[in-house]
Amino acid sequence: MDQEGVQSFLIVFSIIAFCLALTVILLFAIFQNRKNKLLRLQQETESKFKEELIETQIEIREETLRNISWELHDNIGQLLTLAKIQLNEADEACLNVSEASETLSHCLKELRNLSKLINPDTFTSLTLIEALQLEIERFNRMKYLKTSLQFNEETFALNTKVEIIIFRMLQEFFTNTIKHSKATELAVWVQYNANTLEIVAKDNGIGFDNSNLSKGIGLSNIKNRAKIIGATATIESQKGEGTQFYLTYINNVS
């Protein structure tokens, strides 16, 4: 090669080397940047999920305590008072003593039920369906509402954390029904499909105007929770027509 040939070779070579180096650096920088951003985002989502989970667990605990206080006051307290009255009247007729003992045994049964409900281990080892059954039994026993639960047998294992959040969403809906809707009946359907879980809950209460939906904190809370576990929740209602709650959760088993 002559001098000129070497010169032009060096020029061409360096231009091409520069192009390649620039491409590699750019590619690396962009991919690394994007990767870090995505990792950060994943961490954020995860910590948000954890926070929400803790909050949910606290709420469930509070709700349980509230229920216990009601039961003690309305159910067991009443029964004990009745037994006391019956015993006070024991002088008048011996018959009342056996009545009082019956009341007391009834009272004991209720207490046992209650202690089963309080035990914190119970809830963590329950499946969603079992937890719902307990909740619904309680409604029926306390005569708040006439409640029914229907579900199909083919269940699939859900993440416990997801189950807790779903249960809390339903509990929130039930509380709203009892407090505000003046409903007399509540029906719940739980349907496990191949990899989706569908839950429908309906009451026959007074309902509310759908346009006021955004104002209810409890209801918007339900929607936020659904978003966090990647489920879709819709609440439909019309004045005088009752309220319906629909939840669809897709189980991603990867």
Partner: protein
């Protein structure tokens, strides 16, 4: 003498890559990348035929290389068509293929078969660079960016991008500086080392579970 020696090196590179691709085939046989195994052997075959025609029988072998340019570009376009997901991208691949085919056809009609069809090559190369960028855009906007070094398609795109980002300026500069012979061979060889180096890295690093789209 040294010139002939240099032109054997790409042949060795191609053969090595094709053999590695064959050995690692089970890692990517369920993906769209599986056709690259056949493509690499096809490349090797073309190179051998070209070499035999040029060095042994001593006839003009540009016809072989022109055929290879056209078929390889169409193969790359087809591959990108199957892996790009956005409808706009797929449509662009079709438009690129049509324009490229027209250019290639015109070159076949109006240019001598005994010269290298540079219009065909440059059109294809520019389109291909755009398609690799589309593919990177798709990877960047999916969760796959986290495991990108285990994806064979990422390595193939990197190889193609680097090779053609080098080839396009080389092609244009050739017209102005009259760079020929051994200098051209050295640069071409360097680019080939990068191309097959990326392929080989991809075949060796890729993991089976990440090659199912």
């Amino acid at each position: 003498m040294s010139l002939t020696f240099l032109s054997y090196i790409p042949l060795v590179l191609e053969l090595t890559t094709a053999i590695i691709a064959l050995v690692m085939f089970k890692k990517y046989k369920f993906s769209n990348e599986k056709y690259f195994l056949y493509f690499l052997w096809y490349t090797f075959l073309i190179e051998i035929v070209g070499l035999i025609l040029g060095e042994v029988i001593l006839v003009n072998n540009f016809g072989v290389y022109n055929t290879f340019t056209i078929t390889s570009m169409l193969f790359y376009f087809y591959w990108y068509y199957s892996i790009l997901k956005k409808p706009e991208f797929k449509k662009t691949v079709i438009i690129f293929s049509v324009i490229f085919s027209i250019v290639a056809f015109l070159s076949l009609c109006f240019e001598s078969w005994k010269v290298y069809h540079s219009y065909t090559f440059v059109t294809g190369a520019i389109f291909l660079v755009v398609l690799t960028l589309f593919h990177f855009y798709q990877l960047l906007n999916s969760n796959e960016v986290l495991i990108v070094k285990y994806k064979l398609s990422f390595w193939i795109s990197t190889a193609l991008l680097l090779f053609y980002v080098g080839m396009i300026p080389l092609f244009f500069l050739m017209q102005y500086t009259g760079i020929v012979g051994i200098s051209y061979q050295i640069i071409l060889l360097s680019l080939n080392v990068i191309l097959y180096g990326c392929y080989t890295t991809g075949f060796l690093w890729t993991k089976k579970e990440y090659n199912r789209f």
